[in-house]
Symmetry: C2
Subunit: 266 residues, 2 copies
DNA sequence: GCTTTCCTCTCAAAC
DNA sequence: GCTGTGAGGGGGTAC
């Protein structure tokens, strides 16, 4: 329906952005990011040379693929205890301690204990100057969960009205759509995230939700711009498709091979 | 000098070996191993079809590459505290706890404390039937460190005389020579290992040493036989070399690319 | 003949 | 449009 991908608000390739940007890049991240850009640039130049400019509308399909329905916009207050558990766990990992073990019954018990804790509303200060305001409309009625989970001061109305900035993405969406990697998504100092129970089954691994404008802003800094990101994206898609085709063709033309199906081949 | 790789003592593909074999395969390891064999078999069949049998002496080069000098044969008694530290750490990790944090000064302090502990010889029982004997020569004068670190009852003389079985390999050697993977080498129940200070610098990551016959026995069970392992090994080497050549050639023939050197290419 | 981590891709299983 | 882990490879770093 509505295209979730907006034109980039920040100029591409900006290094020193100010205002509400919650993630300054550490030197290691800057280095890795530049390395990624370098490799991507070289790869793209090679592919461009090969194709001689015959794939023109690749970005359209990519942007079309990257459309997101905004079903995660509603503030998930009932999952607040999940989030508290998540943050404490992350803090422990950073300090070098992993206190909770892998036993699922132990984890479930702890979650239930957290669920039983009463929910406390954050106190609203009487001095209006001390209260944070919505970064879009300057309203004072902020979404408390966004403020706590994503360090983002925004009101519920703006979250609904601007899904291209304030909708949430899953971890796999961040990986596939913005080409972010596991360590980048794991580092809560780069991109904070909220945990929700896995929609397939509640006892499966928790779903991780990231704020769209934060992921997009980091992707822009990582890849240069959304256009370059789209180029890399289409490159990988075509590369993946040709590799898959070639794999199947070589498997078929090998007459000495006993092909039971695509995965059982001697 | 001496070829460290001996002809396989155990028949290839054996599933239920007895005696001194310290590692029964868990169901997950059996499954992963069979999957590896399946994939390797399919890959090998494809390559064999491509080549039509013109690479005949590949195994010679591989066995030549896998020659090891036996400079780690001497029992490293002075590093015993490293080993104790290693085993306690592994035990904690298995239980879900990681007690030592990432701070280097903390680790160094602990090592020094362990170094100051007095070395206690294991008591020799007066009843000769109760003492374990060397699995080669039935001697009673076992190498205590091999018994403790590798669960292997062998005497110092046999360690020196049979380097093709009792020499030690580093972790990277196990990976490159026997094609073992990270989780397999990390699992102390599959392959126990001894820690030694990194020969490049003592404050670097500890060197991990594995007992050769144990690594070889597991590799045989994983890949079927040493001959099949060699086939897979040569396959990967040639594949790696052709990929590298192709990469460099395509990079050279792209005239629009600015090639500074092999790694800087726009 | 040092180790770790990272990257990309794939797939299983349900962290 | 779910996540984790593993394989395989490569490079930089100094757990
Ligand atoms: Zn607002
Ligand atoms: Zn002996």
């Amino acid at each position: 329906m509505n295209t979730a991908r907006s034109p980039p608000k920040t100029p591409p390739g900006c290094r020193d952005n100010n205002g509400n940007s919650p993630f300054p890049l550490t030197p290691e991240q800057v280095k890795r990011t530049e390395m990624n850009q370098l490799k991507a640039k070289a790869l793209f130049a090679e592919r461009l040379k090969e194709k001689q400019g015959k794939g023109g509308n690749g970005t359209d399909s990519v942007t079309g693929k990257r459309e997101r329905e905004d079903r995660y916009i509603q503030p998930a207050r009932k999952f607040m205890n999940y989030i508290e558990y998540d943050f404490s766990k992350i803090k422990d990992t950073k300090g070098g301690f992993i206190v909770d073990d892998d036993k699922p019954e132990g984890r479930k018990k702890w979650d239930e204990k957290l669920f039983s804790k009463p929910f406390i509303e954050p106190p609203l200060s009487l001095d209006p100057a001390k209260n944070a305001k919505c970064r879009e409309c300057r309203s004072v009625e902020l979404d408390f969960t966004y403020q706590r989970d994503f360090n983002c001061d925004v009101c519920s109305k703006c979250i609904k009205d601007l899904p291209e900035k304030y909708s949430l993405l899953t971890k796999t969406e961040c990986r596939t759509d913005y080409l972010l990697t596991e360590p980048e998504l794991k580092d809560v100092e780069i991109l904070p995230h909220r945990l929700k129970p896995n929609p397939h089954a509640s006892n499966w691994s928790n779903m991780m939700l990231y704020l769209r404008y934060q992921a997009e802003e980091f992707a822009i800094r990582k890849w240069g711009s959304l256009e370059k990101l789209d180029e890399i994206h289409t490159e990988r898609e075509t590369k993946k498709k040709t590799a898959k085709d070639k794999r199947f063709m070589t498997r078929l033309e090998g007459s000495s091979l006993i092909v039971i199906d695509e995965t059982h081949c001697f």
